[in-house]
């Protein structure tokens, strides 16, 4: 203000009507862009979630395969354990039966029990006692049975009995 008592009104290139129009257009454009941005973000988030789910799905598939393998392995182990348990039971029964087989007159000093083989060391008052009371049942169990006798000074015999089971040819 150099000479005038009042300040001039502010001058604008655009009219108030145009300003109003521009304002509403701006709001419309902003809303459009914000909607676009919102959808874009949502789409991105959806893609991201989908990728995560896909990767999780793939991981789960891999895990399922692994678990199937584990299950197979565990089943195998279970079968194996059951086999061992059965064998042990059988073995236990066999040993029990074996000791049931041994008459009181015969004394066993050592018994070696293998898968298809039973080796007995012991002493018997006589060969006949052994043959009648122990060898007969052993023969009924094992396919082959060999016995060696060694005379002892007191007239008894120490014996070694080797008994074999023949596996059927598969």
């Amino acid at each position: 203000m150099q000479y005038s008592f009042i300040k001039p009104r502010s001058k604008g290139i655009v009219s108030p009507e145009f300003k109003l129009l521009f304002f509403f257009f701006s709001i419309t454009i902003v809303m459009l862009f914000s909607s676009y941005a919102f959808l874009k973000v949502k789409s991105f988030m959806y893609d991201s979630t989908m990728d995560d789910l896909m990767s999780k799905s793939a991981t789960l598939k891999v895990n399922i395969v692994s678990m199937h393998e584990d299950i197979t392995y565990i089943k195998l182990q279970r079968r194996h354990a059951e086999g061992i348990y059965t064998e042990n039971t059988v073995l236990k029964e066999s040993i029990h039966n074996l000791f049931d087989l041994v008459p009181e007159k015969i004394t066993l000093s050592q018994a070696l029990l293998k898968e298809d083989e039973l080796v007995l060391y012991g002493i018997t008052p006589s060969k006949e006692v052994y043959e009648f009371l122990l060898q007969a049942p052993l023969r009924s169990i094992f396919h082959r049975s060999y016995t060696s006798y060694y005379a002892m000074p007191n007239g008894w015999y120490s014996f070694v009995s080797k008994n074999y089971l023949d596996r059927p040819v598969q």
Binding site: M1, I6, P8, K11, S15
Partner: protein
């Protein structure tokens, strides 16, 4: 290049100067592009009570619609305004009470002031189109006589139809200023015989002098009244029963009377304008004389003597004012016509440099 400069070059700028009198309004519109004047339109409107009519507002609005950079400047026509030879509000108290005034300082030397409420009222009168600048007549005067104020003590007078502004400058410094409404002064003084007498005495001039009274000999139209002489010839009518002659006589008599009435009316109008012009000049002279007396009598102004008077005439006044000033006040007087509306537009251009 500054943005504002670029905008000015691209857009047309419109400067509208408005000078308001009580019953007329002058508008000058300048359309400019950069520094180039493309078009200038001046128009005068008849208004009432110094308020623009709908036609005037429409005229201004038509130009305002052409460019967003339209500046409307109006000359301050308020009564409570003036100028004082200081920019210090403290010192200004010695000259006038500026408590309710708006002030504008010029070059930190002197300032103009105007009553705030009157400025608001002025803005209200132009509420339809609004105002951008209100200029003081003292700034117009000092700019118009820029080459004269730097020298010896000079009286600058701005004469409008209804207003008179005067200020005294010495070596570029304002000494004294006053603003009057001559319309009111004329009315007041016509009511006051006392002032008339004192003025008459001071001038050695009497309104009843032959020079200024109506000289019927000067009215040519009155010669037409010679036709009335025909009435003298009534005696020559030998036979009053001659009806044809009587009818002719009546017709010629009526024509002569009608013509003489028209002539009298014209003469009266001519005389009235002459006496009005004289009267206006004389009242202006009285105001100037009274102001100078105030100036000389006030000790604040160091008794400086006004040697020259420069009159900016915005209303085509007669030559009498200069004659009165030179004969009665012993000052050399010069008169220069001023288009106030154009001056306002010019000043608006200067002021608008600070606006964008």
């Amino acid at each position: 290049m500054k943005l504002s400069g670029l905008i000015k070059k691209i857009y047309q700028q419109i400067f509208i100067g408005i000078v308001v009198q009580h019953s007329s309004m002058k508008v000058c519109v300048q359309l400019r592009k950069g520094n180039r004047l493309e078009k200038e339109v001046s128009r005068e409107f008849n208004i009432s009570h110094a308020t623009p009519t709908a036609e005037a507002n429409e005229f201004i609005k038509s130009y305002m619609d052409e460019s967003p950079f339209t500046y409307i400047a109006v000359l301050n026509d308020t009564l409570t305004q003036g100028a004082i030879p200081t920019c210090s509000m403290h010192q200004a108290e010695n000259f006038s009470d500026l408590g309710s005034c708006v002030t504008v300082c010029n070059e930190n030397k002197w300032m103009v002031y105007a009553e705030k409420t009157e400025l608001n009222a002025l803005q209200k009168r132009f509420l339809v189109n609004g105002l951008d600048f209100i200029f003081s007549p003292f700034f117009i005067l000092s700019n118009f006589f820029q080459d004269k104020i730097e020298g010896k003590t000079s009286l600058l007078v701005l004469i409008q139809d209804d207003y008179l502004s005067l200020c005294i400058f010495a070596e570029g410094e304002l000494l004294f200023a006053n603003h009057y409404a001559t319309k009111e002064a004329i009315e007041d003084e016509s009511m006051s015989e006392e002032l008339d007498e004192s003025a008459g005495e001071s001038l050695g001039f009497n309104l009843e002098d032959d020079d200024l009274s109506i000289n019927l000999d000067e009215i040519d139209a009155l010669d037409e009244l010679d036709a009335l002489d025909d009435l003298d010839n009534l005696q020559d009518l030998d036979d009053l029963d001659d009806l044809d002659e009587i009818e002719d006589f009546e017709e010629s008599l009526n024509e002569a009377v009608e013509e003489s009435e028209v002539a009298l009316e014209e003469a009266k109008t001519k005389y009235d304008s002459k006496i009005d012009n004289f009267s206006d000049d004389y009242k202006r002279f009285q105001l100037i004389q009274a102001s100078l007396q105030n100036f000389y009598n006030d000790s604040k102004y160091n008794n400086q003597f006004v040697e020259e008077t420069y009159i900016a005439d915005a209303c085509e006044s007669g030559p009498d004012l200069i004659k009165f000033l030179e004969e009665e006040l012993f000052v050399t007087a010069y008169k220069r016509s001023i288009d106030l509306d154009k001056e306002l537009a010019k000043m608006a251009i200067k002021e608008a440099k600070y606006a964008i």
